[in-house]
């Protein structure tokens, strides 16, 4: 966007772009606070995105979009009012403030708000010299053509290669009735590769991706994209040989990195503040209790440089943090946004996130992972007589209230006598959140974060997230195969 300084962004730089200054913002809050409102904020967004993809060897189409808007929120007790508009002007923001405050009853006590000096985020986790959306489209087209040419040469059984690169730059400015005034520029890139391989009547797919809040140039480096292609091809060819997955309860070893989606589903969502304030989570009221085996420590950390789930400030202007959720097996903290923190008498943890100015913020995860243990991953595999070794997953879901969660393997193997056996066809694993981590019996020393491709959905809002985990063994998890 024009005029915005790169790196640490300042509200004073962004404000002119959105056409609103401190006095304008203060008058917005005066409008909102004409009713008995506990808290009000305004969220300004200007986001550019582009995407190109290749299939059948051709970059057939490209896409670019610009989205801008403002959302105004008012809180009174447990109630929230929200109005948003795609036109950014003082009039439209005031109109939204008038709509948002309607959730409160009776007259307010005329209060005035003085915004603090525009704050810089306290740290800069994604300092970039060039916005990924300002990298010329020709550069991205050439990368996809290189990837395609390389992938086609890998194996004659590969019949289709698809790849895409998507870039985003999200410019935010957040001002609140408590005087907070902060801005951030959030870049995001992702590169995805998918291949289809055919052998006889079998048809299989393999896919990989990588990305984060990093420079576009990182995606263009062969050491970044070649492994994605190699892995996609290897997974597709492996799955061509896959046998039916066993069904039933068995010991499961999960590989490092992306299988950390287990944590996201089994415990992460259940520890979000809103569900716990409303007492609808299977983890409600369980702080201080054992919810995992000794040695299991799970952290949500939005402060990791360059990661997909990281943010300098959350979408309510609160600096992100490193929050220990489970420490040595004991539940110690929930993840909070401002509303739920206030209502529960806790501190916001920098987890208030929203998909865009069109959405109300909610407590959401950032990067959620388990810390490394002591065990050698090879020993962990050897410790299982017969079971399943799952190394890659395609997604998951949880029922917060019953605690039941699933996650679906896209690459998995039988374990036979402590050795990796035949690859098995994809299967869903199911468990009970408050119980599953108490069955963790081994924790590897090989903690890894995922490659930067995760998107979490909640109430129809998608936000980028990260996960991570060392190799672990879980005893007696239900595996949803077809081989009884």
């Amino acid at each position: 966007m024009a005029g915005a300084k790169r790196g640490k962004s300042e509200a004073s730089v962004l404000a002119p772009h959105f056409g609103i200054d401190a006095r304008g913002l203060e008058s917005v809050f005066a409008t909102a606070l004409a009713k008995p409102i506990d808290f009000a904020d305004a969220f300004f967004e200007y986001t550019t995105r582009d995407a190109v993809s290749i299939e059948e060897g051709l970059v057939k189409t490209g896409a670019r979009s610009v989205e801008q808007g403002v959302g105004v929120r008012a809180q009174a007790g447990e109630r929230q009012g929200y109005a948003h508009a795609d036109e950014i002007s003082l009039e439209s923001v005031k109109l939204a403030a008038g709509t948002a405050r309607a959730i409160a009853e009776g007259p307010g006590n005329t209060r005035s708000v003085a915004l603090r000096r525009p704050a810089q985020p306290v740290y800069d986790l994604y300092p970039l010299r060039q916005s990924p959306t300002s990298v010329p489209i020709d550069t991205k087209v050439r990368l996809l053509q290189e990837i395609d040419a390389y992938a086609r040469g890998r194996d004659p059984r590969v019949t289709q290669v698809m790849a895409s690169v998507a870039c985003e730059e999200r410019n935010l400015m957040i001002a609140s009735s408590d005087g907070t005034w902060v801005a951030d520029v959030q870049p995001l890139v992702v590169l995805r590769v998918q291949v289809i391989a055919v052998s006889g009547s079998r048809r299989e797919t393999g896919s990989q991706g990588t990305g984060g809040r990093i420079a576009y140039a990182r995606l263009g480096e062969p050491e970044t994209w070649k492994p994605l292609v190699d892995e996609s091809v290897r997974i597709a060819l492996t799955n061509l040989e896959a046998v039916n997955c066993p069904a039933g309860t068995m010991d499961v070893v999960l590989g490092p990195g992306w299988p950390g989606i287990l944590l996201h589903e089994a415990v992460g969502h259940g520890l979000e503040g809103d569900f716990n304030r409303k007492k609808t989570s299977a983890f409600s009221g369980r702080i201080g209790q054992r919810v995992a085996s000794p040695g299991v420590t799970v952290v949500d950390d939005g402060t990791l440089p360059g990661r997909r789930g990281s943010l300098n400030v959350d979408d309510e202007g609160t600096p992100t943090d490193r929050t220990v959720l489970i420490e040595d097996g004991i539940l110690v903290s929930y993840m909070q946004d401002r509303l739920n923190a206030r209502l529960m008498g806790m501190k916001p943890t920098g987890n208030g996130r929203r998909e865009s100015y069109q959405h109300l913020p909610m407590p959401r995860m950032t990067n959620t992972f388990m810390l490394a243990g002591q065990d050698d991953p090879a020993d962990i595999l050897r410790s299982v007589k017969n079971g399943l070794y799952a190394v890659s997953f395609s997604g998951g879901q949880v029922d917060i209230t019953s605690g039941k969660f699933v996650f679906s393997a896209s690459e998995a193997y039988r374990i036979e006598d402590g050795k990796i056996g035949a690859p098995v066809r994809g299967a869903t694993l199911i468990g009970d959140g408050p119980d599953a981590l108490t069955r963790v019996s081994r924790i590897g020393h090989d903690m890894a974060l995922d490659p930067g491709i995760g998107t979490c959905g909640k109430d129809g809002q998608g936000v980028p997230v990260g996960v991570g985990m060392p190799t672990i063994r879980i005893d007696a998890l239900t595996v949803g195969g077809t081989q009884g």
């Binding site: 189409t61 795609d86 797919t205």
Partner: protein, 448 residues
């Protein structure tokens, strides 16, 4: 021409000026209202106005056209002109493709008699909508003292107007409304264990919604019957899908019938056109012209008239879902299934009901699983492999015996479709896909 039609014409004009061989423009303007009530209290109220304009251009090249799309929600003339020119610049960077381009003709004409919008529903009566959510909450909690805290009942009302125009001279315009109410109930048993479930109603007209009290009672009863759920031992057994979960099978199938998945070889059905892919009683229809349908529309994302497509007829695969591009790739004609922004998808999708009552289906099943909820995305369209988390009721001695959860059901969609051995007469429209109660003769259930 009004302001929105002007904006579309302006974008087309600037695409042409920038050198586009052809272009089309879709504009959506909408207003929406959402509110959620928990117990007696409002949880949130949300209002919005949105407009969005998307431009697709085709640029002449060697042996075909290259293409690109751009989108903005700032409809000032200067920005629209810039977005149109930017699309052309982007298209010059992509590769010509002989199949790319606007449809050759067949644009929609004639009156729009789909009853997508009831003028008296707009502007929304927000107080009445909140009152129906309160009614759902109150009636749910009155069902049983075990109905406790919940995430609440939510109402949504939306109005939108779609304007679509292209450089071939077509300009189309329609309004639609959409209203819904969803109640989510939470039941708590004496041992502190909780279960939740939902019921919902949606319609193009406010008058078409099920009353709040009835929605609340149904969601409460569904949550209550899940209390005490347990696992069952791993086994093979018949699996019955209730009308809330059965449509998910149709959606998964439809994804495999998209022309894009077919020409890419990314569907397990890619080479099966004309073959028997399902049990003989299975007929699956996609119809964009169902009167009052939640996914009905007079024309698709490329201005082509929507129509009734029989996808599966008495078990035989009869049609893919095609837009102009996928149709040309496969040497076929578009089925009027284009989605703005790219791709081909369903409109109102359903499986023709049979003659059996749902009760008969249960009583004719000595032992098996009656599924009322599925979680996870465990379906692979390339292979048809299917494995999802399930909860519901266990059938023992031909009756619903006890609730079950923390189990999975698994199979292969290709086999599952062939093994549909009972089709209910209870087709239920709750959204844009509908199916009656269905029984699949045999699936693997993984549990304890």
């Amino acid at each position: 021409m009004d302001e929105l039609q002007d904006a579309v014409a302006h974008a087309l004009e600037h695409a042409r000026k920038a050198g586009a061989y052809a272009a089309d423009v879709g504009l959506t303007a909408g207003e929406s209202f959402e509110a959620r009530v928990r117990g007696a209290e409002i949880d949130f109220v949300k209002q919005s106005r949105e407009r969005s304009l998307g431009v697709r251009v085709f640029y002449g090249g060697r042996g075909g056209l290259s293409s690109a799309t751009t989108r903005t929600n700032d409809l000032t003339p200067r920005v629209i002109a810039g977005v149109a020119a930017d699309a052309v610049a982007l298209a010059r960077a992509t590769v010509p493709d002989p199949c790319a381009g606007l449809p050759d003709g067949g644009f929609a004409s004639g009156p729009n008699d789909l009853e997508l919008f009831e003028p008296c529903d707009h502007p929304f009566d927000t107080e009445a909508r909140i009152a129906s959510a309160r009614e759902a909450e109150a009636s749910a909690r009155a069902v049983d003292p075990r109905i406790a805290d919940s995430d609440g009942s939510q109402v949504d009302s939306g109005w939108s107007r779609i304007v679509y125009g292209n450089s071939a001279g077509f300009l189309g315009d329609y309004e639609s409304g959409r209203h819904s109410l969803m109640a989510e109930s939470l039941a708590r048993s004496a041992d502190g264990k909780m279960q939740r479930d939902i019921w919902y109603t949606a319609s193009r007209r406010l008058a078409g919604l099920e009353p709040g009290a009835s929605v609340g009672v149904k969601s409460a009863k569904r949550a209550l019957r899940k209390l005490g759920a347990r696992r069952v031992p791993t086994c093979e057994a018949p699996v019955i899908f209730d009308p809330l979960v059965a449509p998910s099978l149709l959606r998964q199938l439809a994804g495999c019938l998209s022309g894009y998945a077919v020409y890419r070889g990314a569907s397990f059905l890619a080479s099966r056109m004309g073959e028997r892919i399902a049990a003989p009683g299975v007929t699956i229809v996609d119809d964009g012209r169902r009167v009052g349908g939640l996914a009905s529309r007079p024309f698709d994302g490329e201005g082509l008239a929507t129509r009734r497509n029989v996808l599966v007829e008495q078990g035989r695969l009869r049609s893919w879902l095609l837009d102009t591009y996928a149709a040309r790739k496969l040497g076929l004609a578009s089925t009027g299934s284009a989605v703005r922004g790219g791709g081909a998808s369903t409109t109102n999708l359903w499986l023709e009901p049979g003659t059996l009552s749902p009760e008969t289906i249960v009583t004719s099943t000595p032992r098996g699983l009656y599924v009322t909820e599925l979680i996870g995305q465990g379906f692979n369209p390339v292979t048809g492999d299917y494995s999802r988390g399930a909860s519901g009721l266990w059938i023992e001695n031909s009756e619903l015996a006890f609730p079950v959860d923390e189990i999975t059901i698994a199979g292969n969609l290709g086999e599952m479709l062939k093994q549909i051995d009972a089709i209910g007469n209870d087709l239920l429209w709750l959204g844009s896909a509908a199916a009656p109660t269905l029984r699949i003769a045999r699936m693997t259930i993984a549990g304890s």
